[in-house]
Amino acid sequence: MKILVAIKQVANLDDDFEIRDDGKDVDHDFCDYEINEWDDYSLETALQIRENNGDEGEIVVVTVGPDDAEDELRKCLGKGADRAIRVWDDAIEGSDQVAIARILTKVVEKEAPDMVFMGVQAADNAYAQTGVAVAQQLGWPHAAVVNALEYTPGASTATANRELEGGLEEKITVNCPAVMTIQLGINEPRYASLRGIKQAAGKPLDEISHSDLGLSDDEVGEAGSVSRVRKVFVPEKGQAELIEGTPAEQAARLAEILKELSGA
């Protein structure tokens, strides 16, 4: 059994960030990075399936991202993934999610896993796009926004619950292998143990380029994309009227406002 988990390193912007000179992105010097919250849940889903399979099976984590993204792959290895793949080269810069999906698709084809898990969306740009895009390019069955999953490795179908709006869920059966996008709350992601972290340093982490995957230059980057960021800008935002003072003064004013507005 093999499960492939695709992860993304997401950006947090510093408060005093600046926009890049070409106006098409923020200056990445103002970003801090962390693993996408959703990806903790998809990795945990894979780890639990393996545990329930008598600890048999391989878990491979993959990301498309620059050098820094290695940190997140190492964290996944520390939690129990066996092997990691990082795809990056300069030509990939400027890829939209369709081009990123094309890269991940090639990795899946090469690895031939039984199941692919990805987060529903990434915390920074929230495209909610890549998982189903990969499934389309693979021609695989897929299910999005999964918050419960019954899957036995090797089975021809899985049963999944999709989390819909307003607390409703839909139970579906999905043909396998499949790509599933995993929702927050499906499980309780573990922390890496000290021993796991030590072991992670010795686990294989392959670094490959788009050409290693057989993709041409015009299949990635802007040329391989179906959308293009023309410019980015800081939106005008509403701003709450701030209540100033000591906590006691702030609370007193808040109490007045609440009494007035609630008609109490």
Binding site: A11, L13, V98, A123, D124, N125, A126, Y127, A128, Q129, T130, G131, V132, A133, Q136, P141, H142, A143, A144, V145, N161, E163, L164, E165, G166, G167, L168, E169, E170, K171, I172, T173, V174, L184, G185, V226, S227, R228, V229, R230, K231, V232, F233, V234, P235, G238, Q239, A240, E241, L242, P247, A248, Q250, A251, A252, L254, A255, I257, L258, S262
Partner: protein, 316 residues
Amino acid sequence: MSDILVIAEHRQGEVRPVSLELIAAAKEAGASSVTVALIGANAADLTGAVSVEGVDEIVTVPTASADFQPDEWKAAVEALIAARSPSLVMLPHSVDSWGFAPALGATGNYGFATDVFGIANEGGEWVVTRAMYKEKVHAEIDFPGKSTVVVTVRGGTWKPAEGSSSPAVSSLDASATANSSHVEFIEPPATGDVDITQAEFMLSIGRGIAEEDNVEQFSELADAVGATLGCSRPIADSGWLPKSRQVGQSGKVVAACKLYLALGISGSVQHQAGMKHVDNIIAVNTDPEASIFSIARYGIVGDIFEIADELVTHFE
């Protein structure tokens, strides 16, 4: 040409209201004609619900499944695009769209963007606006060389289209092999003693409460001020409050709420989907950059425990 195709969303036999927001958005974007598509085995039963002002044509695409099935919906939209050659196709940025719209984009045949809340036509080319970097930045996106652009549109951005119209109704066939099948819908657990959708005054807590043991203090505060206690997703996911108390896209929309006190809630897009319509939002958060302050009327940058300790003394 700026013909716009709107893919209506429906579930359990009801058209979802966001579909009417999309029709309004299509008109505002300057559509020369608006075609609304209804996909599903019983699509023909739903035409009345989308016969609102601004709709020129309705096309039903009967499929094997009554409810959403991603392979069938993708094939239906592809058939609709082939038949009508719209310059823009609009879908809601909803859970069902997340389940199939990216597959349309991944064919490479169309321009594609998700979660857009601005749509403009510049000299025949579509330019859309979406957020990046946790909403701190907005981006204008275009689609060079694409004659059809597919977008998912953020709910709550446009007011729903109203009125009535008598659009022409026709039907289109699309065939698909379904790789998944619907078993059943699972209704949320009974709300028990509380229905937050009916509450006029909500006090909601988020990650800022830090520990489960602190829930009690805010539950008592809610009682003291006369509010119904709600929460954001992490609190419900942790099991600290039941899911029936969760406000947001995957929780409840607090439809009747007039006063919303958000304590330790940063204000993600998903949470805002359940409460940003409330007239009077008041937020307390330690982070002055928290996005909740951009939609709140009043704000306190401060510690929710200190404020809560002081606040309760005014309601004893």
